[in-house]
């Protein structure tokens, strides 16, 4: 049974060798003029090195929560849409149920003020709790 994995092993080998060859080639053939900014690790334009105890807005997490709602929606709807013709009408109702459940979650987070980034109103809500 393990023999059937040999092609994957070969693929690993080829990928590794190719990466090695390409990197060596670009180092030999290309010009090499490094500076500080070029050598920085790339991290979405943020300063990659700094204090670990950095404070950032709680809104970050709230947006992440909304993101999960839409992310899940996409993950399930895409493959379903591709195979819809074979799957039949019944799956349509199942998908409606799924989207409604997700929508309830989205509605809840919106009503709780996830997109309400006004600091004053955030404080006001915190006081109410």
């Amino acid at each position: 049974m393990l023999a059937s994995y040999v092609p994957i092993l070969v693929l690993f080998g080829v990928a590794f060798a190719l990466a090695l060859v390409l990197m060596t080639l670009s180092r030999i053939a290309g010009p090499y003029r490094p500076n500080k900014i070029k050598l920085d690790p790339y991290e979405s334009g943020m300063d990659p090195v700094g204090q670990a105890k950095e404070r950032y807005s709680i809104a970050f997490y709230l947006v992440a929560m909304e993101f999960i709602v839409f992310d899940l929606e996409v993950i399930f709807i895409y493959p379903w849409a591709v195979g819809f013709r074979d799957l039949g009408v019944g799956t349509f109702y199942a998908m409606v149920v799924f989207v409604v459940i997700l929508f309830v979650g989205l509605f809840y987070t919106l009503r709780k003020g996830t997109l309400d980034w006004d600091m004053k109103s955030l404080k006001h809500q915190a006081m109410k709790l």
């Binding site: 019944g90 309830v104 809840y108 919106l110």
Partner: protein, 475 residues
């Protein structure tokens, strides 16, 4: 595919899920906690009725063999829903006094309950995983409700981290089982399984995950800390419903998935774990000074007695024990929750219960009933539960297991009675002003105590009449 049949087969779960969604909607629209309390209690009651009705039905599988229904799977759901219902009923007053009375609590209880129902109906390894995760994620949130306290934060973090590891083990086990058999449905796994190292490793990891969820030694370390930091009525929910769900899923795996060739090796593993769990749980409970930690270790010990039933194949005995355990343990946590409502006084240590038997006579009597039942003294339900479990061990020829169980259970008398000694035979330290319990709260506790007594007096007759299939000791 017949959707109506599927929905009907999983009706309790569907009702619970629907109620959960309604609670979330209500919370976003109205923010009226009292309505949500009523709605969730009514939803659980409806689901309970649906589960009782389906437990007498013939049973079968639904959702392309992903779940089973009817028979003792549905009886497991009945127990889970009874636990959920009483936890909700007991929670309102307690949470209000702790300023934790949020609508989300009820939504989380309902979603946890949904996970448990899925777990108790799983006929497929993915359904099992899905149920465990739905249950656990909601319980992690409930464990962290008192996050402003050191113990609360510890409870949530510890439960989450250890739970995530356990889930990892479980999932890896499922992956290995799938790898070795190519099947995921429990019955097909049993048919396709051969005792290859891959399958055995997968089974071991799967067992580890389950042992973690039921809090068996040596995977019990999280229990005392989590139980201590969680709001008391929700601790009761965790200790009863969650445990019931895991045990029913465990029984489903043992009956449906374990191939006959390797059944004996599973049995010996469970025996060893049962002995360890009974001894360690009871011995450590002896030295606990904190009531909730004492009950946490006692719940470990009870998991041990239940494992005795699992090892000997007495699944009906296990189910009855789970039922008895649910009502008596919820009651005990309920009375503790009542005392904890007192302002400016900390009811965590056993000493703080000194002299309360005369200050709050009714609550004292109720707590004594629940503790006597937990000890396993007739005529309470706990005694019948223990009797069935140990009798099934004797019937299966596992005499040493039964002997160790009875001895461990005798040792447990000390730490339960100690609470009662403080209640009745020690002078009060300083008079505290006890809050009045609401009528509903008191009525719930009295109902729990009465059923503890009732199912201890005629367990067989009533259970057979009610559910029609828990007949005697044999599975």
């Amino acid at each position: 595919m017949n959707y109506l049949h599927d929905i009907q087969a999983f009706l309790p779960g569907v009702i619970i899920a629907f109620t959960g969604l309604i609670t979330i909607l209500l919370e976003s629209l109205k923010r009226d906690v009292r309505t949500m309390y009523g709605v969730s209690a009514a939803g659980v009651l409806a689901a309970l009725i649906a589960a009782i009705l389906s437990s007498t039905s013939e049973g079968g599988t639904a959702f392309t063999d992903a779940i089973v229904y009817g028979g003792w799977s549905s009886f497991g759901q009945v127990i889970i829903l009874i636990g959920t219902l009483f936890s909700i009923l007991l929670s309102a007053d307690y949470l209000k006094s702790k300023s934790l009375h949020f609508g989300e609590v009820y939504a989380m209880i309902l979603f946890a309950s949904l996970g448990m129902l899925v777990l108790a109906a799983s006929n497929h390894l993915i359904t099992l995983f899905l149920g465990i995760e739905t249950m656990s994620v909601a319980l992690y949130v409930l464990a962290g409700l008192m996050h402003y306290r050191k113990t609360g934060a510890e409870a949530a973090l510890k439960y989450f981290l250890l739970g995530a590891f356990a889930t990892g083990f479980l999932l890896f086990g499922i992956a290995l089982i799938y790898g070795s058999t190519g099947e995921m449905t429990l019955t097909s796994v049993a048919a396709a399984a051969s005792p290859t190292p891959l399958f055995l490793a997968g089974s071991g990891l799967l067992l580890t995950g389950i042992f973690f969820k039921i809090g068996a030694v040596p995977f019990h370390m999280w229990t005392p800390d989590v139980y201590e930091g969680t709001p008391t009525t929700l601790t009761g929910f965790m200790a009863t419903s969650a445990k019931t769900a895991s045990f029913v899923a465990f029984a489903l795996i043992l009956v449906r998935m374990v191939p006959e060739t390797s059944y004996e090796s599973w049995q010996s593993v469970i025996q060893v774990i049962a002995i360890l769990t009974m001894i360690v749980g009871n011995v450590i409970a002896l030295v606990q000074e904190n009531v909730k930690r004492m009950l946490a270790y006692s719940s470990i010990a009870h998991a041990g007695y239940l494992l005795v039933g699992m090892a000997s194949g007495g699944y009906s005995a296990v189910l009855f024990y789970l039922f008895a355990y649910t009502i008596m343990n919820l009651g005990a946590f309920g009375v503790i929750a009542y005392f904890e409502r007192t302002k400016n006084f900390d009811f965590t240590s056993i000493e703080s219960y000194a002299g309360l038997g005369s200050r709050a006579p009714l609550m004292g009597v109720l707590l004594s009933v629940f503790l006597f039942s937990l000890i396993g003294i007739p005529p309470f339900a706990g005694f019948m539960g223990k009797y069935y479990v140990f009798a099934s061990a004797v019937q299966a020829g596992m005499i040493p297991l039964a002997v160790i169980g009875v001895l461990a259970s005798a040792a447990s008398v000390y730490y339960y009675l100690r609470v009662m000694v403080y209640l009745y035979f020690k002078p009060e330290h300083k008079p505290v002003h006890l809050e009045k319990a609401s009528v509903l709260f008191t009525a719930t506790l009295i109902l729990l105590a009465a059923s503890t007594l009732y199912f201890g007096i005629e367990p067989l007759v009533s259970v057979t009449d009610l559910f029609g299939f828990v007949t005697g000791i044999s599975p």
